[in-house]
Amino acid sequence: MDRLVELLPLFYQSFEETVIMVGISLFISTLLGIPLGVLLVITRPDHLAPNKWVYHSLNVIINVIRSLPFIILMVAIIPFTEFVVGTSIGVEGAIVPLIVYTTPYIARLMETALLEVDRGVIEAYQAMGASRSQIIFRIMIREARPGIVLCLTIATIGLIGATAMAGAVGAGGLGDLALRYGYQQWDIEVMIMTVIILICLVQAIQSLGNWAAKKLKKTA
């Protein structure tokens, strides 16, 4: 117990690193993933902007990235990561693969959430003369908000998992802590503590997401 108190600053620092990595990658992946998700929906045949070419290429790219486990993706894109941020290790080196990993994930989840929006509602606003962008931003995205929140919740939890693996490239964070103390030194206490923190974090995020989605869903 005394050791844990001793290690507290270390836990705190790792936790902070995890939050920063998750936060930054989530922010950027969401910024990229939402438009991609919208494109995946509106370029479908019979939707707002049918475009076979865009739809199929996006599909293929997303499937390719999504079929790689994070740890492999991280190694595979090292040249790209170095090109973008100048290094492939540390927090910066981890954020690039985290974004590449999470963006297609969010795009897919967004696609699912947006497809939930009733086709009839979209048609109603087309019939009323609403423009394409009005339909996307004021109807589809707004109507899909509960689904979008749940999608971001799942993405965040996925990101936490991937961030822990990023510990392998010395990115810091809770994963790195578990790796150094738990795996290399077989320090059971630190290991258990890390696991507990991760469980609490995931629980908290999921509950928050469920609560927000429920709030947004206006059902009596």
Partner: protein, 345 residues
């Protein structure tokens, strides 16, 4: 107001082609309520959706309010659509907006000033009888209330035309009545042209001025509701009319009728409720040497006008019978000679 000319619409489903509309020509006058009735798959929705070009016809022309819609740019078409309101069978409301916002959103999209929106929405909600539900969400409303929101939303942009696709099909008979009353009310208040699609003859009978019957992608019969009801031409039309009044006579009864002379006919006599029928039949019997049998009689209200239908068997000498029929034709709304097959069951 609406002129559709020779509309064809073919869908490609895989390698197969589905001809949903096969040359439909339709004219709807300003201020009238025009009904389109037909069985499932007849092409009614496709036809309605060509009026605002949600469905682009394969060929044909669509002129609404003097504008050839197929010649408009995308932007001009969006502008034209604002004057064509639509209500739907499944309401298609925004679940994340309350009643007020459901009606207001289209006004906001068109940058109407806030204060004006508030006034307009309150006025519309009063019109549809939902002023106390402004802050309710669609999931908290009954079907009839949802359709009222749909109607208020459709009227927000002051359209000149209202298209209704099976607007009452998801509602119970009583709610249907009240929604139809509301449609009739706004039709009269705003001189709004309404095109409605249904598979229920009740709906046509209650509020439509004219009706078109569709089958397999063509209009098989059209005319004023009074004419179509008093003398339907097509078997499908008769089947639909049977659902509201069943002017069929048992075959055994037809077989038993005795002719009083060489000539005998079955007449479908239609009379308006405001015309006095009694003296007409009396005069027929006393002035012409013919024998008549009443096979069927009923009276019902068609958009507020009472329409009576009689099936009359008339027989006697050919000359007398013809004179009798001519006299009837002068005296009532409409007289048609029908065959035994047509009225027999």
């Amino acid at each position: 107001m609406i002129q559709l000319t020779n509309i064809h619409k073919t869908y490609k489903v895989g390698s197969k082609q589905v001809e949903a509309l096969k040359g439909v020509t339709l004219h709807v006058n300003k201020g009238e309520i025009f009904g389109v009735i037909g069985f499932s798959g007849a092409g009614k929705s496709t036809l309605l959706r060509t009026i605002n070009l949600l469905e682009k016809p394969t060929s044909g022309s669509v002129v609404v309010n003097g504008q050839d819609l197929l010649k408009l740019s995308e932007k001009e078409l969006r502008h034209a659509r604002k004057k064509i309101g639509v209500i739907f069978q499944h309401f298609n409301l925004l679940s994340s907006y309350n009643v007020f916002d459901n009606v207001a959103e289209i006004l906001r999209m068109n940058r109407v000033p806030k204060e004006q929106i508030r006034k307009k929405v309150e006025e519309l909600l009063r019109l549809v009888g939902l002023e106390d539900k402004a802050s309710a969400y669609p999931s908290q409303l009954s079907g009839g209330q949802k359709q009222r929101v749909g109607i208020a939303r459709a009227l927000a942009m002051d359209p000149e035309i209202l298209l209704c696709d099976e607007a009452t099909s998801a509602l119970d008979p009583q709610t249907t009545e009240s929604i139809l009353d509301l449609l009739l009310d706004i039709n009269q208040k705003f001189n709004l042209t309404i095109v409605l699609i249904t598979h229920e003859m009740q709906v046509i009978k209650k509020i439509c001025d004219r009706v078109a019957i569709m089958e397999n992608g063509v209009i098989i019969e059209q005319g004023t509701v009074l004419d179509v009801f008093s003398n339907p031409q097509q078997p499908t039309t008769r089947n639909f009319i049977k659902t509201v009044f069943d002017d069929q006579v048992p075959k055994e009864m037809l077989a038993k009728i005795k002719n009083a002379g060489p000539s005998a006919y079955i007449l479908r006599v239609a009379f308006r409720g405001d015309a006095a029928l009694d003296p007409v039949l009396g005069t027929l019997a006393s002035r012409y040497p013919v024998r008549t049998n009443l096979l069927y009689g009923s009276i019902s209200s068609i958009k507020g006008t009472a329409l009576g239908i009689l099936l009359l068997h008339i027989s006697g000498e050919e000359k007398a019978v013809q004179e009798g029929i001519a006299y009837l034709r002068e005296s009532v709304y409409r007289v048609d000679v029908v065959s035994q097959e047509e009225v027999g069951r």
